[in-house]
């Protein structure tokens, strides 16, 4: 195909335009309001965070902050900032701007405090200046001071995951002037409809990133152009265009037809054929886990024997071989092996129908019936085709003597809702890490009591909370190893896969560095013809 470069502005050799197929438009380009991958991908190109991860890894490296240090007790962090950085609107980036952004998030009100709006703030900082929902905890954030061109952020307590959390695109530093000018905080009235009236997130995102927004035609295209006053290495591409194509097979066909030069989340079934046709496959390091989750509050999952029987009944290896790309591995615990805290000696539940049957017999549950949920209308790195996973597991369970009642719902909102309200006895789900900390995996699942999982052994909660607060790296590692063992003994679910999600690119696309946490920079990409 030849479609991609037509009409691009670039005459210079290094330039050109890359069209990238996305599954949807960004919800907003205001990082503080979004948590979905498609939005964050765009935010990443327009904005920058204080720190980021090393390319292709999870180690924290400087970005807008040149360097940083924390106080002894870990509650005060001083960031030394890059100099000479300008926002797209020409205003200066400085410590005041950093503090303005943190204070903005901290002071979110009303609908802004909704978990679906400021999810990552809640994940990392728990609460706000004035919590409107009593369920929210005390905020980790205390205040921010601009001192001699440095930004000092004070926390209410120590947090081991604070720094890695700051690499999230949700904590992108935006131009305070633009935030005001384009009414980023104008979410109409408290108690009225949550209308994002301002145009900051839709038409006027102003950050310091290597690209600035050129045009955004929802549903058609989102065009980013090189920011020529960028403080670092300027983008090699003239433009990046994100083109929304919701349908998976349609994305693949668009790449084959040359209408796009790349797309994310390639269906494993397509990998071989695409590679054979000369397309480049780029794999992200495995940084996810797919699992079958139980709600231990529901029968028969309150019975450990039943949980174990399920674990033995599932032929995880067969599924992974048949349905996942080469390189995917069977998961043994709820976090990927590359992360510290991964325990080498957790209890394992090998595939054995006999054992499963024996355990069922031991459990005392006659003719165990399982409501088994799977989502529709979704494809996730850890389950590219939930229906296939469901069918394979469902057949395994039936073979072991379970009666399976199939249940399904559209991913958003019905399925997630059913999961969160504890309605799903057994479910297919998974998790992709946001940042390189075990707390982002096991902590998210099991540190607090959640309706979705039902009651776990109490010590799991306390152990994970202690591990999160532990500032010493080595101690943390062993605490998490111990926790992982405990979790796999209790068996709140059966993790079954860590997979390497793949992107596909046309020939000639170079320099795309896949990242386990999807912190991927389009400005490094170049096109050769």
């Amino acid at each position: 195909g030849d479609g991609g470069n037509d009409g691009g502005s670039g005459g210079d050799e290094a330039g050109g335009t890359m069209v990238f197929g996305t599954s949807s438009d960004p919800v907003s380009m205001d990082g503080a309001y979004v948590s979905d991958g498609e939005s964050l991908r765009v935010v990443r190109q327009l904005f920058e965070t204080l720190v980021t991860t090393e390319p292709g890894g999870t180690e924290i490296v400087p970005l807008l902050a040149k360097e940083w240090e924390s106080s002894e007790d870990g509650t005060s962090w001083t960031f030394t900032l890059q100099e000479g950085v300008k926002f797209h609107d020409g205003t200066d980036f400085n410590a005041e701007a950093v503090c303005a952004n943190f204070d903005r998030w901290y002071n979110f009100k009303g609908v802004q405090q909704s978990a679906s709006v400021s999810y990552y703030w809640q994940t990392v900082f728990s609460g706000y200046a004035k919590n409107e929902d009593p369920a929210l905890g005390t905020s980790l954030y205390k205040d921010c001071q601009a001192q001699d061109g440095k930004a000092v952020i004070n926390l209410t307590s120590a947090s081991a995951s604070f720094l890695s959390g700051l690499a999230l695109a949700s904590f992108s530093i935006a131009s305070p002037e633009a935030l005001t000018k384009y009414e980023a905080d104008k979410v109409t009235g408290t108690g009225e409809e949550p209308r994002f009236e301002g145009t900051f997130g839709t038409q006027n995102p102003v950050g310091t990133g290597p690209f600035k927004l050129e045009t955004y035609e929802p549903n058609n295209r989102l065009v980013l152009a090189r920011f020529d006053d960028y403080w670092g290495d300027k983008s090699k591409l003239d433009k990046v265009i994100f083109k929304p194509i919701a349908d998976g097979p349609a994305r693949r066909q668009a790449l084959e037809a040359g209408e796009i030069q790349g797309y994310d989340l390639v269906d494993p079934a397509d990998l071989g054929a695409l590679e054979g046709a000369g397309f480049q496959i780029v794999e992200r390091p495995a940084f996810n886990v797919g699992y079958v989750g139980f709600n231990t509050a529901k029968k028969p999952f309150d019975n450990i024997k039943i949980r174990q029987a399920v674990a033995h009944a599932l032929n995880r290896q067969a599924l992974v071989t048949a349905k996942y790309p080469p390189g995917a591995e069977v998961a043994k615990q709820f976090m990927p092996p590359s992360l510290f805290g991964y325990a080498s000696d957790v209890p394992e539940y090998e595939y054995s129908v006999e054992k499963a049957k024996a355990l069922i017999a031991e459990s005392g549950v006659a003719n165990p019936t399982i409501e088994f949920w799977y989502p529709t209308g979704v494809s996730r790195p850890y389950m590219p085709d939930p229906v296939a996973n469901f069918q394979a597991f469902s057949a395994d369970l039936t073979a072991a003597g379970f009666t399976v009642v199939p249940k399904s719902a559209p991913w958003n909102p019905d399925y997630l809702n059913a999961v969160d309200t504890g309605g799903t006895g057994m479910r297919l789900l998974g998790w992709t890490g946001d940042f390189g900390d075990p707390d982002n995996f096991v902590g998210t699942f099991f540190r607090t009591k959640q309706t979705a999982w039902g009651p776990l052994e109490e010590s799991i909660y306390t152990d994970l909370e202690a591990a999160r607060q532990e500032p010493d790296e080595a101690k943390r590692t062993s605490l998490y190893e111990a926790a992982n063992k405990k979790i796999m003994e209790f068996l709140p679910g059966v993790p079954y896969v860590h997979t390497k999600p793949a992107l596909a690119f046309a020939k000639g696309v170079e320099g795309y560095v896949p990242s386990p946490v999807s912190i991927e920079d389009f400005s490094k990409v170049s096109l050769s013809s």
């Binding site: 990998l271 067969a318 069918q391 719902a409």
Partner: protein
């Protein structure tokens, strides 16, 4: 001239005019049926439909394997064993025998078609009957309701209903049924209005037959012709509609049910790598739909009053 002469004349005429015995007697439907038998289109359609129904009935005898038993061991991403001697149509993405699934699929597709049609047509006919029988404001009311239903695109209506009722085969059938309701209601009502104005209805009135009896005994049965034709066609579209709903992720929550529409919908991502897997259910749908359509069109012709002597 005497009356007896007339009788004689007619009787003599009878004997000379009588055609071959098979054409001598029979009602309207028998007459239509006779015409169908001479129509190659109808025969082809009927043959297809018969095969379809037989396969559905005798699926357990015909299918070489259990359509739900999966064997993932031979499956790799994007690579499923194709047709072989053991599996004539190959294996599907879960390692199940495709042929057995196609054979069992006839059952489910027929089930969806028949149930949704039966429900939709019955409701539609009842509505149409009410409107056609009472006329006046009842008619207006029913017809406005029909207008409302018709002004929503059918698939959208079906999506809405399936969403309302939750995922199940039942809600797919109800959704398709509901989409059919206004079509049948309007059809029957129109045809009843025409029949009500006919001379034989007037004749019945002049005999003192009560209105309800005229409507139920005369007008209604005579208005059913177009409804029956439409039913054949609706049966065909129900199968396609079910495929569309499956494509959009609505359907039975048990994905191992071998229903053609769903099988086809699920192969959309395999079209490039495993086109055969899309071909089989596609072919099955096309042939069965073709059967119903041919039959329906032939029936339409056979019942067309203009083509009647």
């Amino acid at each position: 001239m005497s009356l007896s002469q007339g009788v004689e004349a007619v009787e003599s005429a009878d004997s000379s005019a009588a055609g071959p015995p098979e054409e001598a007697a029979g009602g309207l439907w028998r007459d239509a049926f006779r015409r169908l038998r001479h129509n190659p289109t109808a025969i082809l359609g009927a043959a297809l439909v018969t095969i379809f129904v037989l396969v559905a009935i005798f699926a357990p005898l015909l299918a070489p394997y259990d359509p739900k038993v999966a064997d993932l061991s031979q499956i790799r991403p994007g690579d499923f064993p194709g047709p072989s001697r053991e599996h004539l149509l190959g294996l599907d993405s879960q390692g199940r025998d495709e042929l057995s699934r196609i054979i069992y699929g006839a059952r489910y597709s027929l089930l969806i078609g028949v149930v949704s049609l039966a429900v939709g047509a019955t409701l539609g006919v009842i509505l149409g009957l009410i409107a056609g029988a009472f006329g006046g404001w009842v008619d207006s009311l029913v017809m406005r309701l029909v207008d409302i239903m018709l002004s929503i695109p059918g698939l959208l209506l079906a999506i809405g209903i399936a969403a309302l009722l939750g995922r199940s085969l039942k809600s797919v059938m109800i959704a398709i049924a509901v989409v059919n309701v206004p079509v049948f209601a309007r059809l029957l009502r129109g045809s009843m209005l025409a029949q009500r104005r006919s001379d034989y209805a007037l004749a019945a009135r002049s005999l003192g037959v009560t209105r309800s009896r005229i409507v139920l005994q005369h007008v209604f049965p005579n208005s059913l012709g177009p409804v029956i034709v439409q039913a054949t066609l609706a049966l065909a579209t129900a199968i396609i509609d079910a495929a569309g709903l499956a494509f959009l992720g609505l359907g039975s929550p048990d994905p191992s049910i071998p229903e053609w529409g769903r099988m086809l919908a699920e192969t959309n991502s395999l079209l490039a790598t495993e086109p055969l897997l899309a071909l089989w259910p596609g072919l099955a749908i096309v042939l069965s739909v073709l059967g119903f359509y041919l039959l329906g069109e032939a029936l339409r012709e056979a019942l067309d009053p203009k083509l009647r002597r």
